[in-house]
Symmetry: C2
Subunit: 395 residues, 2 copies
């Protein structure tokens, strides 16, 4: 049996990265390698070197399992396999594969062998599969009651032959997918501290955009626990963006909200509040050279999230688009993803509710009523004041 | 053993439906019942009656399996269980449960019993679980080598006691979730015929909004296969919206695109084309009293879908928001969902590519260049002409 600890990790990229051409693809791969290195360094995981293979990246490390679990969470990586390296000689490949199978296959297990090959070799991929399969059965097939099952095997042995070397593994761990972080520019992500907005920002990060996290601090309309909560959520998100700025921007918004509550019809409070947030976010996007705003709005989830109100909200801004990555998500789907991301628990901490929410918020606010109410407000003054007093927390 | 065919179906709604209050909840349930009836009628599935239980709906039918599989695809339903009805007397419940277990449990299986109860009964839910569990073990536990496993059993027996009746089942089939179709107003959904836009429109439908499907017909810049393809895709989507209008709107767009290609810088073609589509969609939304526009754009997927270009695109319209439900999806995730929906195959039919796409489309089009180019076009004339020649196909 081989040393039970794999000595390297095979890293695969999503198909979408490979679809890019020339300069774009090279830039993506460079970013991805940088993000991989920074992630391993940040989490204190040892490795010897990172090298490119054909269509893969190889990380040599004696902490291959740990390397795998961290890299599976790097955006742009579609899967990883802790593996054993050997020469591409047929005998070596077969010996190492049988040895790995010895440790991996238990009584009554079914297995399959899959081989990919790049380079010139005196054998085909099919030869490898047949040879490894028959040698495994010969060595301990009867004794353990093993059988081959190409459809849904208990264990899939993988052999990846690349030039003079071969890499043998017994599992493919799903990576998080997406594009390398930093490949798509910047977005302002509005975080309430709740689940939806955290997942929305994460989805934008997954697709490669850097998120400038912004929270509107509505105290005294909510307890201080709201800021504590959003900081905890933002810390989790920052851990997905190793190597990028770990900041959370707090917009003091209590005065603006107070003006809305006292000067305008109460049933319009939520719509007016959100329109103002959008406007401030637009100003921040401009300052931060971001190219869009991401929110956690899901169709129909709350009174402010009816199609009608989203239309009224969106019309408050025109330069920067509002992206709503969880628009079509059910609450249960968002929660499931939140657990995977790690934001579910912090975002479910009690933070109280906004005391400015009226008993009967409008679900079909009329634009002319909204505009009339806004005429009573010093919109520009409110934007300027909030942006001026912006606070930056380092997470 | 009981008649192996269940005689009813227990239908459960998503938690989000229950979160709604008073009038809204009643409206949702009314819509849901109507959509359920129409779906069963459309697919020719027999049932005797549909009745409300506490927090559930019950469908009595001797085609319970067929009813279940169709209702699992009705938006707003979170799960269904084909079930056997009996009285809520303890002996009846236990006898029916043991009988169902007899047919459901094979050699070596593990099982669990779960009970929910509404109403007054001389027993608790726990009593039912214990009694059914021990009677099952007594009857054929030893013979078949059964064991109880509350964590991850092979078979979960479910007992739902409601007043004088009880419903016994052995499986909970996941429903599609979301909100009842028709509960959230209307959206214009732009369909290209490809996977992304089909999934985007479906996600909007899932959250309860009616989608007015619109396709821009760019012939002669693409083969006629493009229209054939989008019709096939739209038919699949219409089957998810039984009881609603089965229409696909075709916007003749060849002349507009020709003007863009001939009058404007070639590298801006795609951005200008999409901005014009957004404008026309906005006009259609107005005419159709829709309250938003849904597209299949995913961040970074194509040259026209960089954050920068999405910003330039979005700024073409201001009255109606552009919703992008697959904004944060990887291609592989969209494809997985497309298979579940049934649009994967029709949307992967060969339809050729748009011949107007330039060799080097701009990924960072400048707004001032875009506006300058548009100054050469008769924007309003193009919108009017397209809207005037709108064709409606019945699917």
């Amino acid at each position: 049996m081989v040393d039970s600890r794999p000595d390297c990790v095979i890293v695969r990229f999503g198909g979408e990265v490979w679809l890019k051409k020339g300069w774009t693809r090279r830039r993506y791969l460079r970013l991805l390698l940088r993000n991989m290195k920074r992630t391993l360094k940040h989490f204190g995981v040892d490795y010897d070197e990172i090298v490119r293979l054909h269509g893969r990246v190889l990380v040599r490390s004696h902490s291959a399992m740990e390397v795998s679990s961290h890299l599976a969470n790097v955006f742009g990586i579609s899967s990883v396999s802790p593996a054993f390296e050997t020469s591409s000689g047929l005998e070596d490949v077969v010996a190492k594969s049988v040895s790995l199978a010895d440790g991996a296959l238990g009584a009554g297990n079914s297995f399959a062998v899959k081989c990919t090959r790049v380079g010139k070799h005196p054998y085909s991929s099919g030869d490898i599969c047949r040879e490894v399969g028959s040698k495994v059965l010969e060595a301990f097939g009867e004794e353990r009651g093993l059988r081959v099952d190409l459809g849904a095997p208990d264990v899939r042995l993988g052999v990846e032959v690349r030039g003079d070397s071969a890499y043998i593994h017994k599992e493919v761990i799903d990576g998080v997918g997406g594009f390398p972080l930093g490949s798509q520019g910047r977005v302002v992500g509005l975080l309430s501290g709740g689940v939806d907005s955290a997942v929305a920002s994460w989805l934008v990060m997954k697709r490669g955009a850097i998120v400038r996290m912004v929270h509107f601090d509505i105290s005294p309309f909510i307890s201080d626990a709201a800021v504590t909560r959003v900081v905890a959520v933002a810390r989790v998100l920052a851990d997905w963006a190793v190597g990028f700025a770990r900041h959370l921007y707090l917009v003091p918004y209590g005065d603006a909200l107070k003006a809305i509550v006292t000067e305008c019809p109460r049933r319009l409070t939520c719509v007016l509040c959100k329109r103002m947030m959008y406007r401030i976010a637009e100003r921040l996007a401009e300052r931060m050279t971001a190219k869009g705003i991401a929110t956690g709005e899901a169709l129909g989830e709350q009174a402010s999230q009816t199609l009608h109100n989203l239309m009224i909200l969106s019309s408050a801004v025109s330069k920067y688009p509002i992206h709503r990555p969880v628009f079509g998500f059910d609450k249960a789907e968002t929660a499931r993803l939140a657990r995977r991301i790690g934001v579910y628990e912090p975002s479910n901490e009690q933070a109280g509710v906004c005391r400015a929410v009226p008993k009967k918020p409008a679900t079909k606010a009329k634009l002319k009523d909204v505009l009339a109410a806004e005429a009573e407000l010093d919109i520009n003054g409110m934007i300027e004041a909030s942006v001026k007093e912006l606070k930056m927390l380092t997470l």
